[in-house]
């Protein structure tokens, strides 16, 4: 009985978190009311499911897949074909369950292709996923009846009978369908992490050899996890088909697979909620950042690079590390350092960004003249003074940033030792 009692406060916290999550999903379109934001929110929901399903492989199973878009993409295709069958009166299912059609087909393809892929782990696994992804993409160009060739396959989601007046005509109705799927899928994927298979999957990630000696077939563990991940990926794909009403070959492409990997990693593969952050960032980057600047992929690449080098646990691990500091009441000691880091980083990035923008301008838009607008300033891309000014700003920022980084690192180190001491003290007190 003692063990049951001990878990109680934890469960209360869990109720609060899940209610808050549901609340956010419900309220978000009421807060962000523009057309653009509704579209973005819908895409975020889809991306959350896709990235979490990807992290089932990467973060939980240690499987670095370069071809996850195969399962989201084929789910999309199957769903849009099913949608067209519904429109044509050949299939009698409600539009609301089409994402499940996507999910089941994602799962089916995972059963088929995963059989080959999950025979190996580590680098061979990664290589095989890459091969499978290339294979499927090549097939998308060959079989245009199914993949729709260059134009893709389009559909109309206002099909079948309206259910309580829900036609999925307005974007907001699609959003709520996606939100409902997002909530259920996130809950199910979280639940998976708390099951025997979910935990053994972690063990396979940590030390596959030892798992073989405690009675488990690691290939089987990877295969089942791969199939489950394929199912959720397919659901994300099916929702995508309904959301965009068009599916083109790029949904199974390497770019999409790479984006899942990149943003899952950025968000943080070591914590369950990390990919959720990653998915939100993915949509912000794809929709907003790409509008803002032509150099957005360069910025994304740089962020990824620095993240891998300095914070391999992603944003989620940064949050958790600071939460730990906050829990011991030491965040007060360090917040000025954060302020310093933030300001100096801003100065440095402003300088660097201005130069990057000027280079892009010279390469792509030089016909439009030499002036570049950057953060309210007007720069001359061919003017020496602009370049000197930017370099000066960047170098000043860099110098100051390095100073505040050193200051921060000492403070951070001190706080960590204090926390360690505190933990020791509490241990001995017990």
């Amino acid at each position: 009985m003692a063990a049951v009692y001990k878990f109680k406060p934890y469960n209360v916290g869990r109720w609060i978190i899940w209610s808050a999550f549901a609340g956010i999903l419900l309220m978000a379109p009421l807060v962000f009311t523009s057309n653009l934001s509704t579209t973005m929110l819908a895409q975020m929901g889809i991306a959350i499911i896709a990235c979490l399903s990807y992290n089932m492989l990467l973060g939980q199973g240690g499987m670095l897949s370069f071809g996850h878009a195969v399962y989201t993409g084929l789910g999309s295709y199957m769903a849009i074909h099913a949608l067209n069958a519904v429109s044509g009166g050949k299939l009698h299912i409600p539009v609301s369950v089409l994402p499940i059609v996507g999910g089941l087909s994602g799962m089916g393809f995972a059963v088929l292709l995963g059989w080959v892929t999950t025979r190996k782990s580590g680098t061979p696994f990664a290589m095989i996923t890459l091969g499978v992804a290339e294979l499927v993409f090549a097939m998308s160009l060959m079989f245009s009846e199914f993949f729709g060739g260059e134009a893709g396959v389009s559909g109309n989601r206002v099909a079948g009978e309206a259910f309580f007046g829900i036609t999925y005509g307005p974007q907001i109705q699609v959003y709520y369908l996606i939100a409902a799927y997002t909530f259920v899928c996130v809950a199910l994927m979280y639940a998976f992490t708390q099951t025997p298979l979910g935990r053994i999957l972690n063990a396979v990630r940590d030390n596959p050899e030892r798992v073989e000696f405690i009675g488990y077939n690691t290939q089987r563990v990877r295969y089942i996890a791969f199939i489950i991940a394929g199912f959720f990926a397919g659901i994300a794909g099916g929702l995508g088909a309904l959301n965009f009403e068009i599916v083109t070959a790029e949904v199974v492409g390497a770019g999409r697979s790479g984006a899942y990997l990149l943003f899952t990693f950025l968000g943080g593969a070591t914590f369950f909620f990390g990919p959720i952050i990653g998915a939100i960032l993915m949509i912000i980057a794809f929709v907003l950042l790409s509008e803002l600047t032509k150099a957005w992929l360069l910025y994304l690449g740089l962020i990824f690079l620095f993240m891998v080098m300095y914070a391999p646990g992603g944003i989620a691990s940064l949050i958790m590390m600071n939460l730990r500091v906050a829990k011991f009441g030491k965040l007060r000691q360090i917040w000025t350092s954060y302020l310093g880091l933030g300001l100096t980083a801003f100065v440095m990035l402003a300088g660097a960004g201005a130069m990057i923008e000027m280079v892009y301008h010279l390469q792509l838009n030089s016909a439009l003249g030499d002036t570049v607008k950057f953060m309210g300033a007007t720069l001359n891309a061919k003017g020496l003074d602009s370049w000197f000014g930017c370099a000066f700003v960047m170098l000043t920022g860099l110098g100051l940033f390095e100073l505040s980084r050193r200051q921060y690192m000492t403070e951070w180190g001190e706080i960590q030792t204090e926390i360690e001491k505190e933990i020791k003290r509490r241990e001995t007190a017990v």
Binding site: A191, F192, T195, P196, G198, I200, A203, F213, I224
Partner: protein, 258 residues
């Protein structure tokens, strides 16, 4: 008495390329016996364990576990038939807590297999067994610490815990006390004795004091062959063993006094 041995090796051979590492090993271990496998470095002790536990297949010969052939089975199949092993180099799940390490190791034996429609927190038997194991290996205070943050001796204890967790009745321990101090070793041997009561135990060990204190029988492996397999007294008196391997070690351990 029953005629089936807990573990039986019949003319087991293993080649790596052209090199013959195990050159016809015969060994028959009665249920409940504690056997220490000794021998100089490179004699093939670890290879022997790897063959028995299914890490490699033997080139020829038979290996029988409770009378059933296991020489062509995978490690997980052999484990399910009741044989568990530990490793010379600590081999645990570093990013899982101590408790999770043990719980993972009990899941199969309790029949949970690849279940994903039950919550771990609801598996009363698995949780109780894992907590019980925590106490047995004296790590109950480290329950929620990640395995990678344990001290070396604690990791060795966890290694043993993971090995015995599934309730296998034949246990192979590959140098369980490697790298431990004298005092840690004696405490650890006590622990091993305690947690393997009633089980068949094979252990590779270098410390002669430990060997003579722990084992019912000693198997001496030299150049891929078992040159003697007998009680400690008989092995100590065996001229072939003294000549080939023990010599000064025996004299030392006798001089050191028990």
């Amino acid at each position: 008495m029953s005629t089936t041995y807990a573990l039986e090796l019949k003319d087991v051979r293993k080649n790596f390329g052209k090199t013959e590492i195990i050159r016809g090993v015969n060994l028959a271990v009665e249920p409940g016996e504690r056997v220490a496998v000794i021998g100089p470095n490179g004699a093939g002790k670890s290879t022997l364990f790897n063959l028995i536990s299914g890490r490699f297949g033997p080139t020829s010969g038979d290996i029988l576990l409770n009378g059933q052939r296991i020489q062509h089975k995978t490690p997980y199949e052999i484990n399910r038939m009741g044989l568990a092993r530990s490793f010379q180099i600590t081999n645990i799940f570093p990013k899982l807590s101590v408790f999770e390490n043990l719980r993972c190791a009990v899941l199969w034996s309790l029949g949970y297999k690849y279940t994903f429609f039950k919550f771990l927190s609801g598996l009363k038997d698995a949780n109780e067994r894992a907590d019980q194991l925590l106490e047995m290996i004296r790590l109950d205070k480290k329950r929620d610490i990640l395995a990678m943050n344990l001290t070396y001796a604690e990791q060795r204890a966890l290694e043993i815990g993971v090995t015995i967790a599934g309730g296998a009745d034949v246990i192979l321990l590959d140098e369980p006390t490697a790298g431990m101090s004298k005092s840690e070793t004696s405490r650890f041997i006590h622990l091993i004795k305690e947690v393997t009561v009633g089980k068949t135990l094979l252990t590779v060990e270098h410390d002669m004091g430990v060997v003579f204190g722990l084992a019912d029988k000693i198997a001496v492996v030299v150049y891929g062959e078992v040159i003697a397999f007998d009680t400690p007294e008989a092995v100590r008196a065996n001229a072939k063993v003294q000549e080939a391997y023990l010599g000064s070690s025996v004299a030392d351990s006798q001089a050191g006094g028990h």
